[in-house]
């Protein structure tokens, strides 16, 4: 017999900043977690009605359909240039980009680095899952050495394709960024730390302090060919060896 919901109290709900729609992410993927963290942050800061999001090309391409704020979609890699255009003509808006490793650190390297170097007052959420998700698991600039991908079937070979690109470290050596951090989502403690980092990045933007980058190490169970539990273990035990967690810059 189904339980009655009559006397139940709602203690946990969807953030106000999200529409009542289903995300298109795969089961066990961290995208959903970080998407929710951003929405909760927008709620907590009361900025839904002045936030503009820039969706990337990739698994989050239709992100603007999930958020209850103004949004657009940028050409592959160009989100930071689009964000620059929006923010400069209307500095009252809170502008954030949400980009994967291929988008931000391969095809969009120039736009991403130069927006950071100009100190654009925007927030960049960088999802580093070390693979191209939407296109079916090809090698990313962040793919670990030896890692299998559909376009490096023998594993990533540094002699052929170089090394995993540490984008946060690249941005951290610039003078302009106010906040550069690398976080992850493989356990509750990391999820809470990521929430705090996202909150700080948005708060700095509201305060007019400048450019923030929150790199988030995430999984991709589908293309890593792992269960979510195995994928989380890999993040915690293997991936963080190449991509150490923590704040790299905090000039706030």
């Amino acid at each position: 017999m189904p339980a009655s919901t009559e006397n139940m109290v709602k203690v946990f709900g969807r953030p106000e900043s999200l529409n009542e729609v289903q995300f298109s992410y795969c089961p066990g993927c961290h995208h959903g977690v970080i998407t929710r963290i951003i929405a909760q942050t927008i709620d907590d800061l009361g900025i839904r009605d002045r936030t503009v999001l820039i969706a990337p090309v990739g698994c989050s391409v239709s992100m603007y359909q999930w958020f209850r704020c103004d949004g657009t979609q940028a050409a592959h890699g160009r989100a930071c240039a689009v964000a620059t255009g929006i923010k400069r003509v209307n500095p009252n808006l809170i502008v954030f980009t949400y980009q994967g490793d291929g988008d931000l650190a391969a095809i969009g390297t120039a736009e991403s680095i130069h927006a950071a170097n100009r100190g654009e007052n925007i927030t960049v959420i960088f999802i580093n899952n070390q693979i191209y998700g939407m296109t079916g698991g090809q090698m990313a600039p962040t793919t670990l050495l030896g890692q299998w991908a559909t376009s490096c079937p023998a594993g990533r070979d540094s002699g052929l394709t170089g090394y995993p690109l540490r984008f946060a470290e690249m941005v951290a050596q610039l003078d302009a960024p106010v906040y550069v951090t690398r976080q992850s989502l493989y356990d509750q403690k990391r999820i809470m730390a990521t929430s705090r980092a996202v909150m700080k990045a948005f708060r700095y933007q509201i305060e007019g302090k400048g450019y923030s980058l929150v790199e988030v190490l995430t999984n991709c169970p589908t293309n890593w060919k792992m269960s979510p539990v195995e994928a989380n273990r890999r993040l915690a035990e293997v991936v963080i060896e190449t991509f150490p967690l923590g704040d790299l810059v905090d000039r706030g």
């Binding site: 929006i86 400069r88 003509v89």
Partner: protein, 339 residues
């Protein structure tokens, strides 16, 4: 053109240096902030056009400028602007090509400008000024048309116009505050449902509906916005079809031809898209030849032939590599068809 843009209500310019249009970028760097606008020298032409995408999405009149190789880089962004129905003005001061080519005047980008260039089924209004006063007029018009039909508009000049000085009376400035509100713009979803600016429609039915609607606007543009100039065509037996700088040279040729007793006239398309097919067709029925003259290997020629549909002779004379055709050489060609 830079001052005309500011007077046309442009409040966001993004560019990257490339000869022969650096003066435009430099003028903007000095004057845009005085007008209360935004200027950024971007890291690339790609970044510049995408900054335009952002500014346009936020509801501000915006422009970028470049020259041929730089425009090739901007085509991705132009396609996205068209796909997301965003108004933006793009100035192309055309130079010799392909590849790095050279920095001399040329018209080799006609196909790229008028036939697509970027991916997808889009059209772009293309305006071809022949003088500096007309450049001013057409840059201001470009902003009006971009807003009216919600898409990118290109001003297709060439290296000669880019390096020329002529006296000009500047029109009164447009106050951006008096322009119609862009209710679709990304201004923050305060007291309204969120606005979305996108060119992405995964569902073929949905994308088709958006595309069909946009094509409807293109048909309206073709009906309403064709602009051209006829010069001494009333009694002409031979017509030169030319645009931009070449049309100026054609006027000299007409003077020379008429003193030799040849009734020569000029049809000068001002909108290269939409192209003035109908007026050309009308002329074709009563002249012996329409000689297309371009600084390329024959690009507008294809539109002239489409218009004329073999009703008359359609020869071509062109110079390549950044060379400018001389009046004497054009006259020699005219004489082959003048009876």
């Amino acid at each position: 053109m830079a001052e005309a843009a500011i007077r046309g209500g442009c409040r966001a310019y993004f560019g990257y240096p490339i000869t022969p249009q650096n003066e435009l970028l430099e003028y903007m760097s000095a004057h845009m902030s005085k007008a209360g606008g935004v200027f950024i020298q971007a890291e690339s032409e790609v970044a510049a056009i995408n900054m335009c995408y952002g500014a346009a999405a936020a509801g501000v009149r915006t422009m970028t400028s470049s020259s041929s190789p730089g425009i090739s880089l901007k085509l991705e962004g132009i396609s996205y602007l068209a796909g997301a129905d965003l108004p933006c003005v793009v100035v192309n001061v055309v130079r010799g090509g392909p590849g790095l080519g050279n920095i001399a005047p040329a018209q080799g980008d006609y196909f790229q400008a008028t036939k697509g260039g970027g991916h997808g089924d889009y059209r772009m209004i293309v305006l071809g000024p022949a003088t500096i006063p007309e450049s001013v007029e057409l840059v201001m018009l470009a902003f009006e048309l971009a807003d009216k039909y919600r898409g990118p508009v290109m001003v297709l000049a060439d290296g000669m116009l880019g390096q020329m000085m002529e006296p000009v009376v500047l029109p009164d400035p447009v106050d951006p505050a008096t322009l119609p509100a862009k209710t679709w713009a990304l201004t923050g979803a305060r007291g309204r449902e969120p606005n979305i600016v996108t060119s992405f429609y995964l569902d073929p039915g949905e994308l088709s509906a958006v595309d069909v609607k946009r094509q409807g606007r293109y048909r309206q543009i073709e009906e309403r916005e064709v602009r051209y100039e006829e010069y001494q065509t009333a009694d002409a037996t031979v017509i030169i079809a030319a645009y931009g700088s070449v049309a100026r040279i054609a006027r000299t040729v007409i003077k020379m031809a008429r003193s030799d007793g040849i009734k020569l006239g000029l049809l000068r398309p001002i909108t290269l898209w939409p192209f003035p097919y109908a007026p050309l067709r009308a002329l074709a029925d009563r002249v012996d030849a329409i000689l297309t003259v371009e600084m390329n290997a024959g690009q507008m020629l294809e539109d002239v032939r489409l218009a004329v549909a073999e009703r008359t002779e359609t020869p071509f004379y062109g110079e390549l590599g950044g060379l400018v055709p001389s009046p004497r050489d054009i006259l020699r060609e005219v004489k082959r068809y003048a009876r």
